[in-house]
């Protein structure tokens, strides 16, 4: 049974995470690892559409924030339980991906990218006008006093994000090795040829966009509780756009390993950097590294490692 090993590994990681919450009390550990796990989800989600299929999404903040605001709305209006928030956030962001994809994916890929770039600003403007979820000023979010068996809400959020990260990576890995993944790769390599070889390119592209958006939305759902605040500036932060793009590009875009490596490396680096240097300078460095990689090492770190390994074998 091919899937037995991955399931065992996933469960062990989850188990280890839960055990960790019983042992470690330092709040900062959970805060920092939450951020990195969040980036694992975002980078992996981005890569399904960007790396596997070849369509660049600049609008990660839009999908992420939509998940966060959907959750906030449902919690304020209906006091919905957390699982419902998670599913709803994924659903709504997935629908956004579906809609945008349906409208723009019949055209050349660059038009999809341009639309995603404009999407964030527009969505942010609409949210700013929505007073119920706080509008421009935002709302403070109060964490529940008790949650399941965890001794702090931070631990709960950490485990939630751990589940999402394991799930996202598992989905990406499954897709990559399936006939869907091969179809996406064909679209990326040469879309016209793929279409003529029987690949239903539009359907697969829309599938990738929807799935990617859905995962990004789910990553956004816990965010208001993570920072105990929901406001447009932080939810729609351009950082998410750059990072969810830079991490796969630096790590490697053709496999599920790349975004994981990129998210961990870049995420840890940024956590360290934000403490030592200003956050703007930190972002500037990310931008420069991104440009350097896209010019000099487009296959990312995974690609470089592969080349090194081949050379040793040859």
């Amino acid at each position: 049974m091919k899937w037995l090993w991955p399931v065992l590994i996933g469960c062990s990681i989850l188990g280890a995470g839960v055990l960790l919450t019983g042992v470690v009390e330092n709040r900062y550990v959970y805060f920092a690892t939450y951020v990195i796990l969040q980036y694992i989800v975002l980078a992996t989600a981005w890569n399904i559409l960007g790396g596997y299929t070849g369509y660049v999404n600049f609008g990660t903040p839009a999908f992420f924030a939509l998940g966060a605001y959907t959750a906030t709305f449902l919690m304020l209006a209906y006091k919905a339980p957390f699982l419902v928030l998670l599913l709803a956030g994924g659903l709504i962001s997935g629908l956004l991906g579906l809609g945008l994809g349906y409208l723009t994916l019949r055209l050349k890929g660059v038009f999809f990218s341009i639309a995603t770039l404009a999407l964030t600003v527009v969505l942010q403007t609409l949210i700013i006008n929505w007073e119920f979820v706080g509008g421009a000023k935002g709302l403070s979010i109060i964490r529940p006093a008790t949650i399941l068996f965890f001794s702090s809400y931070s631990k709960f959020l950490f485990v939630v994000m751990l589940c999402l990260a394991i799930g996202a990576v598992a989905i990406a890995r499954w897709i990559e090795h399936s006939w869907i993944g091969r179809g996406l790769a064909a679209i990326r390599d040469n879309e016209e040829a793929a279409e003529c070889m029987g690949v239903p390119t539009l359907k697969l592209k829309i599938l990738a966009t929807t799935l990617s958006g859905c995962l990004m939305g789910m990553a956004g759902v816990p965010f208001p509780w993570h920072v105990t605040l929901i406001e447009p500036g932080s939810a729609f932060n351009l950082d998410y756009a750059v990072n969810s793009l830079a991490m796969p590009m630096i790590g490697g875009t053709t496999t599920w390993v790349g975004p994981l490596v990129g998210a961990v490396l870049l995420g840890v680096a940024q956590q360290v950097a934000t403490v030592t240097i200003s956050s703007e300078l930190n972002l500037l460095i990310v931008g420069v590294v991104l440009v350097a990689f896209v010019i000099l090492a487009p296959e990312g770190l995974v690609g470089l490692v592969r080349r090194l390994v081949k050379r040793e074998h040859a």
Binding site: R182, G183, E195, C196, M197, G198
Partner: protein
Amino acid sequence: MAATLLEVQHVTKRFGGFQALTDVNLQVHQGECLGLIGPNGSGKTTLINCIAGVLRPDGGSIRFHDTDITPLPAHQRTRLGIARSFQIPKPFTSMTVLENLCIPLAYTAPMQDRGTDMTAEAMAILQLIGLEAKAHMRSAHLTLIELRKLELARAMAARPRLLISDEAMAGLSSAEVDEILAILTALNARGISIIMIEHIMRAVMRFSHRVIVLDAGRTIAEGTPEEILHNTAVEKAYLGE
């Protein structure tokens, strides 16, 4: 009289102000080899793109196996049995030769079979084409004739009833032309109907049962290779007045 496999009727195509095809009619019969020739810019590739579904004609209809396929997108036409090779090869560059073939093999198979391992069938096609030695080479590293063969192999992997070969021999040496010709003849012998677009006259004339000549978007002649060779309109189209 063999059954009609493909029927192109009154097809027109415009690009902005430029009329690429005007009232083109064409038939391919079951098991036939049809040669499609014409000077550069006469609309041959545009016609092929209309048949394959990459372009939508502005007027006219296309029927395959007596079904109107005009509204269908290209990938559905491929599944119905129309496959084409590209004039400028378009391999899936991140994949090996074998993996290139697995794409059409998987996607023209029914949904429940899509995940199965098709390596054996792919290797069989590669053996027919003569590329089995390169099966695990990345397609980005092939030579020109190998790329041309890959195009044909990939089209073969789509399990076609009709194969459209778009200038598969351009730029090849005489011996290489014969290799490609042999492959196409072998495919035809298996019952696959073929439309061959070529500039290399000896290949077209040897290979085709019938030839259609296109000039400036219109069909100007149709007949056996013999008839076409002696057709004055065709001479004029190629050599000028």
